[in-house]
């Protein structure tokens, strides 16, 4: 990325005539420059930073971004180690009235810090590498899910994890499903079955005028594959209900945990796989749909900010949140009007990465149309876990302090079940309140398809 290139965040409507001025022609490497000059130090970003609000040591997003870049212009200046305290919630992005691409600067700074200032033999590096590469360990654990769940649940494992790696022993490791989503998908007959079901659904809906090539490529992400396949299955059933044929391309981790840990090389490798697979899916006429708000955020915003593989922009601009896609391409609310389910109340938390995509009001709007469902928004606080952040021994306390407001609001809401679209937010919600947590897609599935799943089998019950 050239130094003077316009930052991707700076979406100035109507400025197509932007003419870049080459200020530092010698700079070929990506650095912290993009957009830094737009910062006029109003500090609004700092008031949105959940970490700065509870941690007196953290200097905040304004320092991590534009101020640090200016310091960095001095040759002998290293990236400040406080950048590792940023949780990558990306709230500062939408806070900034001046379109400074803060999270892009933080990701870049973190990458440089890890590359140049962190020992590759340090406990922290090894731990962060393990946490951010959860995707690589998950297949092994899910090959022996019961054993893995048993071992991970042992207090001795947790004690070892904290002592040797700095992974907090306060948390319960998420359970691995006994059957991954992809195993279920293959067993169900993969794309071919989906095609048949989609066609049947279109006939049943008497949708003669609809496009027979309704097709989506599902980016399920790691968590709904290995840990909560019920969410992925709900997406499949809801989309097939609308007559969509679903493809499940090969995929790697979205990269979110890697960005948050400064592992940009790992993230680059994962992104390259994803972009190339998803680009192929686009060529097959599919739109890309994700069920995890951090995965969609990554594909849509972080990829084009940090990488430029062929097709990165195409993938970004054709990736959708699963619910929003249906709202725009189908009349989702009309479809839900008149559906009813057994009475249930939810405490809904909008994940930061939904909020940043303008999707924070969506779940409440959509489920309002279903009879029997009442969803209460628990407010705009951050859950505090931010992916791998809350798993680190040194950040656990901060993470819980940030989450306190959400826990209180969940307790106050007249509901005993939580609702959110982010897997790690749901871990935090469960950890802080003991509530069972569901995904919006599961609620839609119950309303549109029902919970009697016939041939697909009932929701998987964890044995262990």
């Amino acid at each position: 990325m050239s130094d003077a290139e316009q930052p991707t965040d700076d979406h100035v409507p109507g400025d197509d005539e932007f003419e870049p001025i080459q200020v530092f022609p010698e700079a070929e490497e990506m650095d912290l420059r993009p957009g830094a000059d737009n910062c006029y130090k109003c500090s609004t970003c700092d008031t949105n930073c959940p970490v700065a609000e509870v941690d007196d040591e953290f200097p905040g997003p304004k320092f991590q971004g534009p101020e640090q870049w200016r310091l960095k212009r001095q040759d002998d200046q290293d990236i400040d180690d406080s950048v590792m305290k940023c949780s990558n919630c990306m709230r500062c992005d939408s806070a900034c009235p001046s379109e400074v691409p803060l999270s892009q600067m933080h990701n870049t700074a973190r990458g440089e810090y890890v590359e140049e200032n962190m020992s590759k033999f340090s406990r922290e590096y090894v731990r962060n590498r393990i946490l951010s590469n959860y995707r690589r360990l998950a297949p092994l654990a899910s090959a022996f899910p019961r054993t893995a769940n048993f071992v991970m649940g042992l207090s001795v494992t947790k004690w070892m994890g904290e002592k040797t790696l700095g992974i907090t022993s306060e948390r319960e490791f998420p359970e691995f499903a006994t059957e991954t989503f992809r195993e279920w998908w293959a067993k169900r007959g993969g794309n071919a079955t989906s095609k048949t079901r989609a066609r049947e659904a279109r006939v049943a809906r008497d949708a003669q005028v609809e496009n027979p090539d309704k097709r989506i490529a599902y980016f399920h992400g790691c968590y709904s594959n290995y840990n909560t396949p019920e969410v992925a299955k709900a997406l499949v059933r809801v989309y097939e209900h609308f007559g969509y044929e679903i493809m499940v391309p090969d995929q790697s981790c979205s990269g979110t945990p890697m960005f948050a840990n400064g592992m940009l090389d790992d993230a680059r490798r994962a992104a390259e796989t994803n972009v190339s697979e998803l680009r192929d899916a686009l060529e097959d006429g599919a739109d890309i749909v994700a069920s995890c708000s951090s995965c969609s955020m990554s594909l849509r915003q972080e990829y084009p900010e940090l990488f430029d593989f062929e097709g990165t922009e195409d993938v970004a601009s054709n990736t959708w949140d699963a619910v929003e896609y249906l709202r725009v391409h189908e009349d989702l609310e009309a479809e839900l009007e008149g559906t009813s389910v057994e009475d249930e109340e939810f405490a809904y938390h909008a994940p930061c990465h939904s909020r940043n995509q303008g999707l924070d009001g969506q779940t409440i709007e959509v489920v309002d149309a279903i009879d029997g469902i009442e969803a209460h928004d628990v407010g705009d606080s951050c859950s505090g876990i931010s992916g791998t952040y809350g798993w680190k021994e040194e950040h656990y306390e901060t993470s819980m302090k940030i989450g306190e407001e959400m826990f209180e609001h969940m307790d106050d809401a007249p509901a005993e079940t939580g609702l959110t679209e982010c897997p790690t937010c749901s871990m935090q919600m469960e950890h802080g309140t003991g509530y069972e947590i569901k995904h919006t897609l599961e609620v839609l599935e119950a309303a549109l398809v029902g919970t009697d799943r016939g041939a697909d089998g009932r929701r998987h019950q964890e044995a262990g």
Binding site: P13, D15, S43, T47, A52, D56, S94, C96, P97
Partner: protein, 430 residues
């Protein structure tokens, strides 16, 4: 398919929220779309109507006296004085006990962090005990780690400005804050949650620790002014605890951005939106629009950009409340000043050297840049005709007034937001 509503308000500041709430009163389905967080977070939280006339006369005792005489084209002149009163009453209804000042037409004088006084029509209850018209002796407390407020200097300024009371300032260290550049939200969080902090007397709650730090400095003053950092969600509770512990009235002095009173006002307004059933979409910009296939003067839908994906939002009526040059509802380049979404006409000199005058505090032409509306708040094109039949504009995107010099920003946003929203709501039934 587009996402469909009766009224779509673009912009999430005071004008946009007021417009959305006013439209919702007319019982349509209303949506508010906002890009970046609104500049309410920069705002003092004070609701000014008119502190000075466009000629610089003031501070005005009664803003309503002066409203009649405003020049043609001023937003207040466009909507009329009655609408200003209605809009204030509408705000009072929303703000409930959180704001004071509705008992009188007269402006209140609120001390600012620089030690000047600002004429304002409505003020947060947290500032009520600090009014400059009240002759109580005053102690101002500043903090070493909060350089934006220099209490002894502010006290000296207040006295020099002729305040009818004696004022004294002290600078203390805030219990539990070590960072030089701690965020204002950090102070507020400490007090909201009454976190324990280390003091000479051992670990005690932050509220008690703060009162204990101030207490020895209190002589015969009957009220104490703090910079506006006394809590966020539980500000009333924090203030009540300090009052009890100090045995004196406690008030907040509005601060520069980022401002907690601005954030509290934002929270209050967004709660009102939720209660009114207004749907809010935030974090994404509206980038363009399409007109009706068979009526080029009518907006059919606007396009929201979600990181490159273009999503249509359709409504019957639209309100543009995207702010001025700071909020970026009006933008400038080297050759032009423009409104970026609908490309509505913004009148300005062709030579950019005529956009400003040499005297920094002079009557700056750029301060008045913005859209010129008709009396129904429809933006007018260069030909004097409405740009679109179903678009109205409100707040700082409008031109013809200098809110910084007049101290009229919040009042104009309320009045124009209220009128634009009400009209849009009346017409926006599907």
């Amino acid at each position: 398919m587009a996402i469909e509503d009766d009224v779509l308000v673009i912009g999430g500041g005071l004008a946009g929220v007021t417009a959305a709430l006013a439209a919702a009163e007319q019982s349509g389905r209303v949506r508010l779309v906002t890009y970046k967080q609104s500049t309410l977070r920069h705002a003092s939280g004070l609701i000014d109507v008119l502190g000075y006339t466009p000629d610089g006369a003031g501070p005005l005792v009664d803003p309503f006296d002066a409203l009649e005489a405003l020049p043609e084209g001023h937003p207040y002149e466009r909507v009329g004085v009655e609408a200003v009163r209605e809009a204030l009453a509408f705000f009072d209804e929303i703000a409930g006990n959180a704001y004071s000042g509705s008992h009188t037409d007269a402006n209140a004088l609120v001390p600012t962090h620089g030690g000047t006084v600002k004429p304002t029509a409505r003020y947060p209850v947290s500032t009520a005990a600090g009014l400059a018209s009240d002759p109580q002796e005053t102690l101002l407390v500043g903090f070493e780690t909060l350089p934006d407020f220099e209490a002894p200097l502010a006290a000296a300024h207040l006295e020099a400005a002729g305040a009818p009371f004696s004022a004294r300032g002290v600078t203390l260290s805030f219990p539990g804050i070590a960072r030089d550049d701690a965020k204002v939200t950090r102070y507020a969080h400490l007090l909201d949650h009454d976190e324990s902090v280390a003091t000479k007397a051992g670990e005690i709650g932050a509220r008690e620790a703060l009162a204990a730090a101030v207490e020895p400095h209190l002589e015969n003053e009957s009220r104490v002014g703090f910079p506006a950092i006394l809590g966020d969600d539980r500000a009333d509770e924090v203030r009540a605890d300090l009052v009890a512990a100090l045995g004196a009235d406690v008030f907040e002095i509005p601060m520069g951005p980022p401002s907690l009173p601005g954030m509290r006002l934002e929270d209050l307004l967004y709660r009102a939106l939720e209660d009114a059933g207004v749907r809010v979409t935030s974090g994404v910009p509206v980038i363009e629009y399409e007109t009706h296939a068979d009526d080029g003067d009518r907006i059919d839908h606007v396009v929201v950009d979600r990181n490159g994906t273009e999503i249509p939002y359709r409504a019957d009526q639209y309100v543009l409340a995207t702010g001025g040059l700071v909020g970026k509802g009006v933008r400038s380049e080297r050759e032009r000043v423009f409104e970026p979404i609908f490309n509505c006409h913004v009148s300005h000199a062709t030579d950019r050297y005529d956009w400003f005058v040499e005297d920094v505090f002079g009557d700056q032409p750029y301060a008045r840049f913005g859209l010129a509306p008709d009396r129904d708040l429809r933006p007018l094109g260069a030909d004097g005709e409405p740009e679109f039949s179903n678009l109205r504009a409100a707040g700082a995107v409008l031109g013809g007034y200098d809110f910084a010099a007049e101290k009229s920003g919040a009042g104009v946003s309320l009045a124009t937001g209220y009128v634009a929203g009400t009209r849009a709501g009346e017409e926006g039934e599907r």
